[in-house]
């Protein structure tokens, strides 16, 4: 490529790349499961804590959660939380060589531990929802996604399954 030659003298076109494997997501997740004392543990305090101080984004004028997430069904949680990134058809989207994975036909959903860990702890661009969604909401949305968008898994999970899989919610920096 000529533009390269104009700017840089070093030529390494035939370079061999050594790519180290990415960190196992489970390892990363464990690290976030430390013991915290969190307002979020009490659902009744959710609205208050979000409105007061727990999410004071630097350049955000507001700390408001806009009323919390009161979606009761898996479908509602999906529509009010997940589809903003994963898209209404759950097919994901690609941007700058990166994007949001499809949930439709995603083999990672087979083992329920994966979606539970991903939703609760987040990874990469995916935020954690531990503390923002209740265990029942997480169970409902995972059940919903695993039985819609062409997914047809039979094993349902419960709030107790979710509760057993995560620790206290992380504290978001102010």
């Amino acid at each position: 490529m000529t533009e390269k030659k104009q700017v840089f003298s070093e030529e390494k076109n035939q370079k061999t790349f050594i790519f180290r494997p990415g960190p196992g997501s489970r390892v990363a997740m464990r690290k976030t499961q430390r013991i915290f004392v969190s307002f979020f543990q009490k659902r009744t305090l959710f609205l208050f804590c979000c409105l007061s101080s727990s999410q004071a984004w630097a350049d955000a004028a507001t700390t408001s959660s806009g009323g919390g997430i009161d979606a009761a069904t898996g479908k509602a949680v999906f529509e009010h939380v997940c589809q903003g990134c994963h898209q209404a058809n759950a097919r994901g989207a690609m941007g700058a060589g990166a994007g949001f994975p499809a949930l439709a036909g995603n083999r990672n959903l087979e083992n329920v531990g994966y979606p539970i860990g991903m939703v609760e702890n987040g990874h990469g661009g995916m935020p954690w929802f531990n503390g923002m969604l209740s265990d029942a909401q997480v169970a409902a949305v995972i059940n919903y996604v695993r039985t819609h968008f062409g997914n047809n898994y039979k094993d349902m999970i419960t709030a107790a399954d979710v509760a057993a899989a995560h620790g206290p919610a992380p504290i978001t920096e102010r």
């Binding site: 070093e10 030529e11 915290f36 903003g84």
Partner: protein
Amino acid sequence: MSHSQNAVQPTRRQLLTRIGITAGSVAMYQAMTKMGHAAGTDFKGPPDLAGARPGTSVLVLGAGLAGMLAAYELRRAGYTVRVLEFQNRSGGRNITLRGGDTLTELGGAKQTVGFAPGNYINPGPWRIPYHHRALLHYCKLFGVELEPFTQLNHNTFLHNSNSFGGVPQRYRDVMVDFNGYTAELLAKATNQNKLDEPVTADEKADLLRAMRIWGELDSNYAYKKSLEVSRRRGFAKARGGGPDGMPTASDLLSRSEIMKSGLFMWMAFYTDYDMQTTMFQPVGGMDMIGKGFSKHVNDLVTHNIQVMKIGQDMNGVTVTYKDNNFAGAVHEVSADYCVCTIPLPVLSQLEVQVSTAMQTAIAAVPYASSVKLGLEFKRRFWEQDDDIYGGISFTDQPISQIAYPSHGFFTDGPAVLLGGYMFGPAAYDFAGMLPEQRVEQGLLQGSKLHKKYYSEFLNGVGVAWSRMPWTLGCCSMWSEEARKTHYRALTEIDGRIVLAGEHASTIGCWQEGAILSSLSAISRLHQRAIGAA
């Protein structure tokens, strides 16, 4: 009385004046800093990159503020620099939308901004605290004209759907009444010796005097409807001239309703260091800053380049990219060093040859979702009907707030306000809507604060940052645990690669963070390059 000590102890101002006179301005500045004044961000001036070896090359990934600053300073120091940018524009999240601009988001929805000429919305950063000195330094250097940004306006609305019958209250009324009632309670407790902690006689007198002044209490320490109180919260019948010029006192809001409403929390909002006045904004739109940078480095930037892999060895860095100027042809480019400002949600999905610690750190910091609405109306009804000139109204509805333009006061014709600015659950919710639904919801919720919303509405735009293909989110969202565990690994130089951007600073989500992280990154890289570190 304790205040009699003032006769022998100099006041803070007297002390500062003495230091200033006797020891010069440097000592004055240091003294002020020690006393908690004048402390800004950690900006020590432009970087000293003296001694760069000619021919040493640095590849910068991303032409946002962090990337362009790195390019500007490194070239100035003598490095050979090239910048690769995914978008067809420079500036990154420093962006302004004007009439005719188009915005295509992930999922395919395309918006064409319909604003009248001269009108704009800043969907990303929109204000600059006076103490963000690094950013202000470069604004001045690049001739970016700044004007005041109205941050705190006492006449804006505070709105709780479940308080005061859902009627928005003026910030001023909530503030004066909250302060008054609270002062009254404190004074009462003090007078009745009911405070838990022992209060000395001196302290008691001081506290009572303070409560009277703070809360505008009467001689019996009561907060009551009066002309004195109305001098703070406004009169029922306004002051005027002539025989009928006498004002009448305004009614107070109910104490229990105020306390229950939680609206006073917005008074605390303005006490955050980064939310205090004075604030600034660039004249004409926030992207004037990006353009200011771009003017100096544009010849170094190649747009429409999609980075695929970042590799390195003992001899240098090699970046594999897709050139979208030429049908996505794949190329490699090499350099001695790399400053990578690619947002973490994107970077975490690329092949990056760095230590496991840095890879883990890159994947440990998700980006917050945020949505902003820009709404254009036929006229400035907020000024003409509601006497609101700039500032922010807050609501408990998902839109969270309405912010009024800080420029163009009193002008006729269409104007644009910020019709919603959301993080958290509301942002996820709005990001999941189609753009027209976001605007629709913005109108519905905003109409609870302004009756003229529907009749004066012209057009709107709804920007969901999680759907921006080049950031996949608004800005870094750190948990306290992630900061403790991963911040160092994220920011330290890894071989020949260093990361920069707001995510690599402790002033996250602010442009100042991007600037300071970039200055830190290139300063450390320079030390490494000249063999000093």
